[in-house]
């Protein structure tokens, strides 16, 4: 049998990317499909593959009665949206200031970028110390006259905000870097025209910079939101979801269900809800970008 020339070319092409395809199949596609299957079962992973009962949509129904799931979901939403909002606002302002008014802007940007390349474990431990009653944050608050500074990680109302503050701090550097890169490419002539028309710095920022940066903002909102939905390490290291459930997030509860309660099926169902949620949010942003993103 003689293969057509095109088929031969195609085939050898596939052979070249075969190692990659195998990797993707083994480590992404198959596990994803597998998790979908087990989300309809009551699987306990220590029982081995195949030892499960299909329970239909039971997991997906039970989840909404589960107080731990509901509060973890609410915390996740709060953490994600609040931190993304502040990261974007602070970064866009910082990037503009650093870019226009600062000497040594490269050094500044680099300094801000350090959290991004630091290990999250190290960051978390440092912040635990910062928040401790003898740590700098509490001591500073006392210095400026706060009588009873919050107990941060040990406090029901403050544990989640404390983590949000840390996430904002560690997220800013990356966003500033991306914004700075985008700022370099803005059309100078438009700014000159605006100056001739008498526009000040603030007007230029609100009427030009923000608009020009909207594609970058769109990109950052999508990617940062996705990464914030998946926060796990700081929670595990700093609060273990506590006190109570006040800082528990979805990924952390998925982990607890799977590996402390051994309820793999239930955990898989939650992962799929997390995926649907993320997919929905991203799709919504994608559809709505025409309204505010200017290319």
């Amino acid at each position: 049998m003689k293969l057509s020339k095109q088929l031969k070319i195609d085939l050898s092409g596939y052979l070249f990317i075969l190692p990659n395809i195998i990797g993707v199949l083994l480590f992404f596609i198959i596990p994803i499909l597998f998790s979908l299957v087990i989300s309809f079962t009551d699987w306990d992973f220590t029982m081995g593959i195949g030892n499960w009962n299909f329970v239909g949509f039971q997991n997906f129904i039970d989840i909404w009665q589960d107080q731990w799931f509901v509060s973890s979901l609410l915390n996740t939403l709060l953490l994600s949206f609040v931190s993304v909002f502040f990261i974007i606002v602070i970064s866009i302002v910082f990037a503009t200031i650093v870019d226009t008014y600062c000497y040594g802007s490269v050094a500044m940007r680099l300094a801000m970028f350090i959290p991004k390349i630091s290990n999250i474990v190290a960051i978390s431990i440092i912040w635990v110390m910062m928040y401790s009653p003898w740590g700098p944050v509490t001591q500073f608050l006392k210095l400026v006259g706060v009588q009873n500074p919050p107990k941060f990680l040990g406090d029901y109302t403050w544990a989640l905000p404390a983590i949000i503050i840390m996430m904002i701090w560690s997220g800013i550097g990356y966003a500033v870097m991306i914004y700075s890169a985008a700022l370099q490419g803005l059309p100078k002539e438009v700014y000159e025209a605006a100056e001739i028309d008498g526009a000040g710095a603030v007007t230029k920022f609100f009427h030009l910079t923000i608009h020009f940066l909207s594609p970058t903002t769109f990109f950052l909102v999508v990617t940062t939101l996705i990464s914030m939905f998946q926060v796990f390490a700081p929670i595990q290291l700093m609060t273990q979801g506590g006190p109570g459930t006040s800082s528990s997030v979805l990924v952390y509860y998925i982990y607890t269900s799977a590996f402390s309660f051994y309820k793999m099926g239930y955990a898989a169902a939650m992962s799929w809800i997390l995926f649907i949620l993320l997919f929905g949010v991203t799709l919504f942003q994608w559809k709505n970008q025409k309204r505010w993103v200017n290319y």
């Binding site: 031969k8 070319i9 085939l11 050898s12 052979l15 070249f16 075969l18 306990d44 992973f45 220590t46 029982m47 081995g48 107080q67 731990w68 635990v128 928040y131 401790s132 009653p133 003898w134 107990k151 941060f152 990680l153 040990g154 406090d155 029901y156 609060t239 506590g242 006190p243 109570g244 459930t245 607890t256 590996f259 402390s260 309660f261 051994y262």
Partner: protein, 444 residues
């Protein structure tokens, strides 16, 4: 040209597959059996001596053992279980923390039924380890693990601080008496404050209060008879939580829960740096003996835990622990049994260096004692150590035997205790809520 490239790619793939297969074969064709032993204790605290002694003794018999430490926390146990699931990487391993994990591992076929081995060697486990120990080690009547150590719970005290304050070392005390003593032992302010008590409420507070409550209620304190509902709002448990709350938030004779969490306070650092007079558990005895890492010169003594009311000291919580099991997937099951038998009846003596006391009646108690006190007889009160830690005669020992929905109930209990200790709820309210929530799980 292209054709050749394709052929080369295929060849590389095929050969690498062949090699992968070949390597596997090579490792199992060895005359000498090499067993892999997994336990949760640092090698220098006993396991290395165990392994060395075994390897000396069994050199001619062709069995050698290799030690691997896993950290006994959630992640470490997950690592152990994944390894057991995956195959034959482990031959013998130890489980900790009562029967919960053994029961889980037995159910998941990660542990062999040891009855046939015992029968083959004409061994009656009750004769070797004692009736209670074996009864409390069976899962649905089957022995999946041999208990090798006995850990009796007690408090540890800094005896020098007691002497200085002129307080007699208690042999039996109620919560009220305990509270007064803790107050008397508290002194100083701020960073220099020395507390009477440290509850260690971060790691797993559930366990701390479990042991106090079980002094009166027994090992299955958590469940009502029949185990169809919990017993979490029992008077004794309420009193226990009230005591802890009072020392933390009323008397300030113990670091508050919030301080414990936010400053990540640990038993080792608090006790061995002289920042506290009494600690809630004795598992840090390993560190007390470790003068290199924790240099100190005060005398540590063992004292029984207080009880809710006079006459409440019915039981002492004990763990028939360090349960050794054989991985059913092991390729050297007979050799693994040889090791297990040797360890439980002889080898565990070496663990006394790290403060773990062997259980079997065949063990040489004097040798254990020598190892335990070697180099530390100046800083450990020998009389109280013998009475409350090493000997087990005359105590009514108790342990948990029911594990229904235990992880879920523990999580509920930890959360409600946290609410009580941060004064969001009273002990009564918190424990009523805990019971309500935990009962939901038992109904499912």
């Amino acid at each position: 040209m292209k054709k050749n490239l394709v052929m080369v790619c295929l060849l590389v793939l095929l050969t690498s597959l062949c090699f992968a297969q070949g390597n596997k074969e090579a490792s199992s064709t060895n005359d000498e059996v090499l067993l892999r032993l997994w336990m949760g204790i640092p090698a220098e605290n006993g396991p290395q001596d165990v392994v060395d002694a075994f390897n000396r003794e069994y050199k001619d018999k062709g069995i050698q053992v290799e030690y691997e430490r896993y950290v006994n926390n959630d992640q470490g146990n997950l690592k152990l279980e994944t390894n057991l699931l995956a195959g034959s990487g482990i031959d013998v391993y130890a489980s900790y923390g009562g029967l919960t994990r053994v029961a889980k591992r037995a159910e998941s076929k990660m542990a062999m039924d040891l009855t046939p081995f015992l029968q083959r060697d004409n061994l009656i486990p009750e004769d070797i380890f004692g009736e209670t120990a074996i009864t409390l080690s069976r899962v649905d009547g089957v022995l999946y693990a041999l208990p090798t150590t006995l850990t009796k719970t007690s408090f540890l005290i800094n005896k020098d601080m007691f002497d200085e304050a002129g307080i007699e070392v208690p042999t039996s005390w109620t919560y009220d008496e305990f509270r007064e003593i803790a107050k008397k032992l508290t002194k100083g302010e701020g960073l220099d404050k020395v507390y009477g008590m440290f509850w260690n409420s971060t790691q797993n507070f559930y366990e701390v209060q479990a042991r106090l409550s079980s002094r009166t209620l027994g090992g299955d304190w958590m469940y009502a008879p029949g185990a169809n509902e919990t017993n979490l709002n029992d008077d004794v448990i309420v009193k226990t939580l009230e005591l802890v709350n009072n020392t933390m938030n009323v008397d300030h004779s113990a670091p508050s829960h919030v301080d414990t969490v936010t400053q990540k306070l640990t038993m080792e650092n608090m006790f061995l740096n002289g920042k506290v007079a009494i600690v809630a558990d004795n598992f840090i005895i390993r560190s007390v003996k470790d003068l290199k890492q924790f240099p100190h010169d005060f005398v540590t003594a063992f004292v029984p835990q207080p009880v809710a009311a006079k006459g409440g000291d019915k039981y002492t919580w004990a763990q028939y622990g360090d349960q050794l099991s054989i991985n059913p997937k092991s390729k050297n099951i007979d050799a693994a049994w040889e090791f297990l038998k040797w360890y439980a009846t002889e080898g565990v003596e070496y663990m006394a260096i790290g403060g773990r006391i062997g259980l079997a009646k065949t063990l040489n108690k004097d040798a254990i004692m020598d190892r335990f006190f070697k180099g530390v007889d100046e800083i450990i009160d020998i009389e109280s150590a013998k009475k409350y830690f090493i000997y087990n005669e005359g105590d009514n020992l108790t342990s948990t035997t029911i594990f229904k929905k235990a992880p879920e109930i523990q999580k509920v209990m930890n959360e409600e205790c946290e609410a009580i200790l941060t004064e969001r709820k009273t002990a009564k309210e918190g424990l009523n809520d805990a019971k309500k929530r935990a009962d939901e799980f038992l109904k499912k």
